[in-house]
Symmetry: C2
Subunit: 434 residues, 2 copies
């Protein structure tokens, strides 16, 4: 079945995924002589950098997501289909999905990344990832449900397990999540749960390497660690997770922590659709591409963003899995596709690193812009401004700004609803069927 | 197990349900010599009058719900437990829940109402109710998913079924839902789905009686019907649902409409916990109470709001199931409980009707305040003001106001995400296990 084939007979570009890269690509193909078909299992774009605020009750899910159809409203050569891609069939230039097959002239894989449990079914089953809106909502619900449960738990060990939170991975996600949890505890939960002794609630951040925020500057690494400790987070570097059975986590140095709450942000891997030969998949589950984002061995299949691994002089192991890389690759690939269609030479990709930043809590952030590094209040305002401006849509910017201003002055969080009942199992299933 | 018994030894009032009635009751028991224990299956209060805006993409779920713990922050004699009440055991003055038993000196049932399918398992299984946040989110997702599905449906009958929407019940909920759907179609979906011929999308409103908004004035009834028809809603009065098998609805006059979307707002019934003798339950599944909201036959069990049926001179069949009744009963019962504890005569309840209103769409609402009746733009502003002021919490008021202003000028809706995948079955189960 060939949905959307009603459109003009220009060459068809199928984009799998409406993330940062896919959106830039589709936008820059506007008014070009191609037909664009975007496939995504969600009908919305997720602004992943703020997922942790949804998970910790700071923001509504809807204000960091944006309907994909709305982004491309009025773009004549754009078609969207809400579909789950099952596999790619290069021989037939086809993409197989849960709603049928679609045929492409050019295929762009922009599926991004998902949590990497490094092959451990145990960790995948028992820990809480946070890569999607449903996962963030589940995480929020779990945190609050376990607090409720701790109130009626009489067994001291079980109670401790409900109140111990272990965040794995000291990258931006882990750092921001741990910091946000610490502030939730300090400013909100203390008031919400007068019956609880908040000192019984512990937040651990476990990082395998010796430092937090690996790719950032030593100053930023030091400050982020210091900020977290000021907020009461127990930072454990040079430490790995050996095992977790759903109630007790064992670390590489033998330390054991009883906990029902292990928040998994220790790693990501590319989301590679079926049909891509294994020998094209390199480290981190990413697809090997050349400097034009072309998947090696194909002339009509491309990959951009987190799922793509482009090895260059500056980035021998591929580029960092961040939005700017995806956006710049998407923008350039739009140009290059037009060039290729017009039999012109494509332009090789060169990443312009605009710097990196992370926020730990109110008035606490770290920013590296080239050689310029600063931490603290100003960095925090810069972080907020950049993220606010990067949000898609005026309403989202407005609602997020309103929430942030309100939270800043009220020391409160607006959204701490347990949206629906679930147990860890159904939760895990849910996050698997997302 | 007796959670929360740590508190002072004043008589304990258990309130089942954190709705409009339960909240007023608990608030007015502040600083009184009682211990208040509130039980609710959700950790938040739901502002039901605006659920239809969540279902139709106008508002975020979080902005019409409010954490119960936050409402009573700092109220010393208040304890909350997130629990599902299984049954009441008057002999032992106990309430049995999924997290154990709680003992009361005085019990107040404020469980509100739920959708009434009048005994039809078929309707309960296939139609979409809208009484809770999860149900509204499911409804929103269903509407959008069926639109997506209609794009790839080749069978004309199946396609029509996906695009026909039948709202049952011409009360405020049905009228507001139908109007909101019509505006979603007119202003938003037309732009989101250029491939769809929006004239194929039909919205029917089916009402059993000869008029819409039964309890309101003839002017309001006429205007609401006229407003709906202006918006393209096919209003069918004097019409009942004979059957619905999930794909075709049959009406009392034999009319058949193929539809996958039947929105059920045709009736409500009280949510009566187990253990209350059947002979105390009257019409509409409500619990018979005297003028002091005391459940007949008990001295220590009370019921307020939608779940209570108090027959008075002005209201021989009980009071309307609206927020003001619940709130006034809650407030008075707080006083009366103190009186009863102090061996004083309780005061009989008298409902002060402040009027009623309903909105059909932008600039379209109807308001009856005693003998004063008006319809149209001014009524619409009054409706918005009253609802905004009734929302719990400053942040919610602010966020809702921002959304309303933005929607008014942009003719857009902010939140149209399919929050999670589901099929009609799992949906129904979800709404059953809520």
């Amino acid at each position: 079945m060939e949905a959307g084939s009603s459109s003009v007979s220009f060459p068809r570009v199928i984009i799998i995924g409406g993330g940062f890269g896919g959106i830039q690509l589709a936008k820059h193909l506007k008014d070009k002589e191609v037909q664009v078909l975007m496939l995504d299992r969600h009908n919305y774009h997720t602004f992943q950098p703020l997922l942790y605020q949804v998970a910790t009750g700071g923001l509504e899910a809807d204000s960091i997501a944006f309907p994909l159809r709305k982004i491309f409203k009025g773009q004549k050569n754009f078609i969207f289909r809400n579909a789950e891609v099952l596999s790619v069939i290069p021989e037939r230039k086809a993409v197989e999905t849960n709603i049928g097959e679609f045929y492409y002239d050019y295929l762009v894989i922009a599926t991004g990344s998902d949590s990497n449990f490094f092959g451990s079914r145990e960790l995948e089953h028992y820990t809480m990832p946070m890569k999607t809106i449903p996962e963030s909502l589940n995480l929020r619900s779990m945190i609050l449900q376990n607090l409720e449960e701790s109130l009626i738990e009489t067994d001291p060990v079980k109670k401790a397990a409900l109140l111990n939170f272990v965040v794995t991975g000291g990258g931006p996600t882990g750092v921001e999540l741990a910091g946000s949890l610490a502030e939730l505890k300090r400013h909100v939960l203390r008031k919400d749960y007068p019956e609880l002794n908040m000192d019984d609630m512990n937040i651990y951040l476990v990082e395998g390497s010796p430092v937090l925020l690996g790719p950032m500057s030593p100053q930023s690494q030091r400050s982020s660690c210091q900020f977290l400790e000021e907020l009461g987070v127990k930072v454990m570097t040079d430490m790995r997770v050996s095992s977790y059975d759903g109630s007790k986590i064992v670390l590489s140095n033998g330390t054991e922590i009883v906990t029902k709450n292990v928040l998994w942000s220790a790693g990501v891997k590319g989301v590679v659709p079926g049909g891509i030969p294994m020998d094209r998949i390199v480290r981190g589950g990413r697809i090997k591409v050349d400097e034009y984002n072309r998947v090696s061995g194909y002339i009509d299949i491309f990959a951009i963003g987190d799922v793509a691994s482009m090895s260059t002089e500056d980035y021998p192991n591929g580029h960092p899995g961040v939005a700017p890389v995806a956006m710049q690759q998407g923008k350039l690939l739009a140009e290059n596709l037009v060039r290729i269609i017009n039999r012109q030479e494509p332009v090789p990709f060169k990443y312009r690193d605009k710097g990196s930043m992370a926020t730990i809590g109110r008035n606490r952030a770290v920013v590296d812009i080239g050689k310029i590094r600063f931490q603290g209040v100003f960095a925090w305002f810069v972080w907020m401004f950049v993220h606010l401006m990067s949000l898609v849509g005026f309403r989202n910017k407005l609602v997020v700004l309103v929430n942030w201003i309100w939270s800043y002055f009220s020391y409160d969080r607006g959204t701490r609803l347990i949206i629906r009942p679930f147990n860890r199992q159904s939760m895990t299933e849910d996050t698997q069927t997302k």
